[in-house]
Assembly symmetry: D2
Homo-oligomer: 406 residues x 4
């Protein structure tokens, strides 16, 4: 028998950009007894989480909650709005944008991919002008959707979604705007309604601080309209039946009750704190971590400070250093998990997650683990990142004090 | 703020045919901290549950674990093996067989539905000879799959899967055999390999005693072969990438870690007890509950004693009695949830779940709740079902004693 | 390695008169991370539980919370108020009254024991007139305390505490009134202030629905006054330092934080329901269980219907039947724990707990287990107790419905 | 309603010298359903923890487990072995030694207190030669017991218990040796049998990594012999009845079941790791933390490096700095709890706990919190303690790697 909770000593530091550490309040909520998903007690839970999650997406429109991972929600967004062979314009900002493109292609869509001009295409956010240009060139409106990633989990680069909206509008193009904010939601500011997004896709295991297992589609009226005509086969993912049954707090197929308990608790925590405070603390953490990386003399994966991610920071290795060898030292010696470099940057960088249930000291621990591990792995550092992060955190008070001593 | 755990006093009796009551051991396992789904600790967990679940399906072939509900696993089975417009032969044994047919139709398949001759088609299991006959008539082998439900959750009727296999073989027909054992697995005997099933579909919230949120496809070599040629769009559900990555204990998209903890614990419990013992105790419970229903003078939904379900019993109401009004009394007065009548038997019957983490006394409690509630709702009973069930349980020793007093 | 949670299948029915079944809400609260017992967060918790527990005792005077079992609280009550050799008047209503007398004797007190006249002294409550008579005869006021048990856990007999107070007053005697309400509090009505009790002793694992591990002394001004002159050695139990530090929410020695979380949750639950409703539901359960015992044709240990306990019922066996052999059958076959006969009634009776987190159906389950077990053990029953209890529960609506179906 | 789990964001760092952080495995074990403390399942648990805890004390003699805090176990040790007015020789190494002396005096014992010659008596361990000298002078053997503290929680000073044993033997004195190892056990090496201790006193919330609520007396044959003649009143604490009932796995009064679950899990974890490894990791942590304190240029409370505590480090403030003001900044800004200065060093020092469920990074987090907080509070530091600790931890490999990457 495998011991489920192998426990060397002390807490593991889970500093990957998702799953993020799950607060005890949420783990406890999730472990309450399962109830009848067709009974009155469930309906109260269902209506509550459906109302709460809208606030998190900053929308008054329907949000679908799937008992599935983020990949499923990508598929749901496309399956509900597209027809076989439809042409979608995507934008490669990193590994997850690529995976989404692959998924779209597997579904039988014609995918066209824009990217940052020049080399290093994974070090920049979406350049909205490229989208505008391309859409203007599409006089027949063959492009049915523009698909962009709000926060690239593989690189630590965000994109300006409001600018993409403006680009589409400037091109007077009817394409739908589909946005993956899987790792952005509830960490970075995100405004489904204000930014005019047609389908926002997200997941549970990032800013929402839940275990993986639920994912979301927030949808606009235009997207709903499109879904009535779209002909890709859809059943499990079909919006229509779910939205209809959600009116009474239920789902057509079996919802994953215990994760909905967790979602309810997570929304309570986030809304008690206030989204503004949540976004501000992620900004603060990002600043502190990047101060460390800069002090080490290492490159940040995101080459454009305007779109540094508040969620994670990609740390590039000097020539000749295997990032995964560094990660291994940090894991084995210091019980800290960091994100690997994905796809084309495999071995070239690692990722430090600074999202969700973190605070200054959990990040200081992670940075100390990184600094010791980098040195043990033979990486020459320009200076102490730990010192730089301490300087940042102690010179910048949090908006809200962590605790009040009476 | 909604209190998540509204708790009147004492335990709720969750006697629906799934979700079944989740044991505390499993709830505790599920609430352990989430780990890196790309780290070494996860791989150990992944390999363990993939090995364990094969034992539960009684197969040596791959089993896919989806972070989704059973409905998703229905879709996965079809999306991986079928092409648009393919002809599938289904068999209506009840509401869930109907829902699966609707799902197949939504996916663009041509569905043909067999059913029991005469009225009362929902009171009988699959008649394999009808399938044999139909397949023999399909000389061009236009039928690509035969889809049957092992244990109809809406009625309490099982079907003889081995007989269906024999029927297909007797017809020398190449159709795949797809079986929904969502509510059968780990309660009723089920043998994926021995019975020659091509795709077995199941879920977590029944005999596996987990909360909802994961579902399964167990697949044969022939099904895998079919999946290479099938052209229905598939991405999230695609077997190929998952089976490939599962070799190392990982998944291509994010698995729902905490439910996998729960699955690991559930498999430990079931395999420690032994599948034979698990099946025997479900048979025992079914006998006890049906003894009660007969003593009440009420009809059992399943008209054929040879295929009584060991998982649940459908109880038909006398003419003029609204089954849901009875359920409401039992719920409000006695804090016991029963399954509603679904689809065409809505209001005509209710369902008593006797699966998973039950024992003689949890069932006696449920039966006492039913007996009191039936009387309070004005239903005339022939005699005491509670007495009949006590007679059954006390005259039939369990194979394994519940406890040993030193 | 011992598996902590041996789990045959289904829930165990813990129907002993304490520890009573602990609700999931409370188990979850208890498992939150331990905090600094000298920090500000703890003070808030401390002040809350100190305020809440007064409401449960129906007192405005101090209540001491000990990190110890009820036996410790017995000792605390005596050690704080008595001097070596002091004369205390006790009243033997059952095994726990006897144990308290033994403890008092071990502490060096002179104990005098009253009891019901005639045989069967354990089948009656305290006869206050005997106390009045004895006190009147004590012209020199050598008796320093009268010690009685409110609800005898060993027999299921309560005593009229208000009557004892009146008896002391009628005798114009200055003795303190010390009352053990370990198994009475939060199940049977109990009024520390109104009834003029000087020290009320209680524990956590009964009506408060907590695991064992904390116990209480509620004290009057007169008891506090007495404690200043009492000379039995006292340190750990000493009221003075604790009461002083409690003013700020802290304790002089380390409190058991996690059980205080549980206490906080328990008080929330009890006070949300309302003490009146809590007492009423215990009365209802007692009626139902006694209806069953009577229908079986068995004797109830308590011979006086006026003082039947709402907490537990002692069931006497016919001549020649070993009660523990019956309990063993019920435990091994039906996974239900009943209380053994203690002390002089060992083997002559068993006890059914009906306290705390119960409801009609958990009791029906227990009664079904008893009825089947009694028959299997060869006890001839006059009729069906299960039937009688169902008749009672279905003809008497609960004050508050268990659930509302929307 | 008070929210029990106030949760600002991220984990709280509980770096006081007890309660220490409780591992999730233990919190989960503790939250299993409460069982019958008189049933067979409990006996198995009781026998297991009684056997396990002997291994932790390194003894083959009886260990008593009390449902009480450490203060109770102090009282138990004295109440069982002493008679009113007995003369005990104590040794003031810090605040807890003083509290124990006060408790002994409250129990009516004649206490005589030795201490380190000169000023700064709280900065040194027990000087065994002083004890030897005093005992030699006690020709009539009026001294009945020598009481010393193994690890002073208030200062971070350990004492050499083997040397005290030798001193008593060298003086050929029959006094019992009573040792408080409340904060030493399961963190610092402790050998009840080999060191010839008569009563070892400990608690749950330190090296055992449990919440507070259970405490221990490990006893020698000589102590048991003494207990038969000792006349201090004892009932709840009395060894005789407990040892007798423990033979079958039970207790005479109600044990706190759920904390025994936790104890069982804690012993499993400690014994799986091995006591040697547990002691070695505490030594390592102590070295790292003291390296930080030295780099800051601050004084360590313990003036004798030979007896530095592996459990905690007392950090003295420069003249004019209020240690509690520093702690307040660290708590409010960085969500980290440190131990206050107790008694005569109140405001002069704070304490960093490095015991139990820690690792290099949890300590780095705490040290970063201290360093930032000290600076924010205006304390001038000589250098970076964080840097010094990283140097220590990265240059000293742990005996056992934290994790294995496959």
């Amino acid at each position: 028998m495998l011991t489920l909770d192998f426990h060397p000593t002390g807490r593991h530091f889970l500093q990957i950009p998702g799953p993020s550490p799950v607060p005890d309040r949420i783990l406890r909520a999730m472990s309450l007894p399962t109830i009848d998903h067709r009974g009155p007690e469930f309906a109260a839970l269902g209506l509550k989480v459906l109302a709460d999650i809208r606030k998190i997406f900053q929308t008054r429109q329907p949000v679908l909650i799937y008992p599935a991972s983020g990949t499923g929600a990508w598929e749901a967004a496309l399956a509900n709005t597209m027809s076989p062979g439809d042409h979608v314009l995507m934008y490669e900002t990193g590994h997850f944008a690529s995976l989404w493109q692959k998924l779209a292609a597997r579904l039988g869509l014609k995918t066209e991919v824009l990217s940052h001009p020049g080399a290093d295409i994974w070090r920049h956010g979406v350049q909205a002008s490229l989208i505008e240009e391309r859409l203007k060139a599409d006089a027949q409106h063959s492009i049915k959707a523009v698909c962009v990633v709000h926060n690239e989990t593989s690189t630590g680069v965000t994109s300006n979604i409001a600018a993409v909206r403006k680009a589409i509008d400037a091109a007077k193009h009817p394409a739908l705007l589909l946005v993956d904010t899987i790792s952005g939601l509830a960490s970075a500011d995100y405004r489904h309604d204000e930014w005019g997004v047609d389908v926002s896709i997200s997941g549970s295991q990032k800013g929402l601080m839940l275990p993986p297992g639920i994912s979301f589609n927030a949808v606009s009226a235009k997207a709903l309209e499109a879904s009535r005509k779209a002909t890709l086969p859809k059943a499990f993912w079909a919006w229509d039946e779910i939205i209809e049954m959600n009116k009474t707090g239920y789902w057509p197929s079996t919802p994953n009750t215990n994760l909905l308990y967790a979602l309810s608790e997570a929304c309570d925590m986030l809304l008690e704190h206030g989204l503004e405070a949540v976004f501000a603390r992620h900004q603060r953490w990002g600043h502190g971590v990047r101060a460390a990386v800069k002090a080490w003399g290492l490159q940040i994966q995101c080459a454009d400070p305007a779109v540094y991610s508040p969620v994670l920071t990609g740390v590039m290795m000097p020539e000749g250093v295997d990032a995964d060898a560094v990660r291994k030292v940090i894991y084995e010696r210091f019980d800290c998990s960091l994100g690997t470099g994905l796809g084309k940057v495999k071995g070239r960088m690692f990722r430090i997650g600074h999202l969700g249930d973190c605070n200054d000291l959990t990040l200081m621990a992670a940075l100390a683990g990184c600094e010791m591990g980098l040195k043990l792995a033979g990486v020459k550092l320009a200076g102490s990142g730990v010192q730089a992060a301490m300087d940042h955190f102690s010179s910048h008070a949090a908006a809200v004090p962590q605790r009040k001593a009476a």
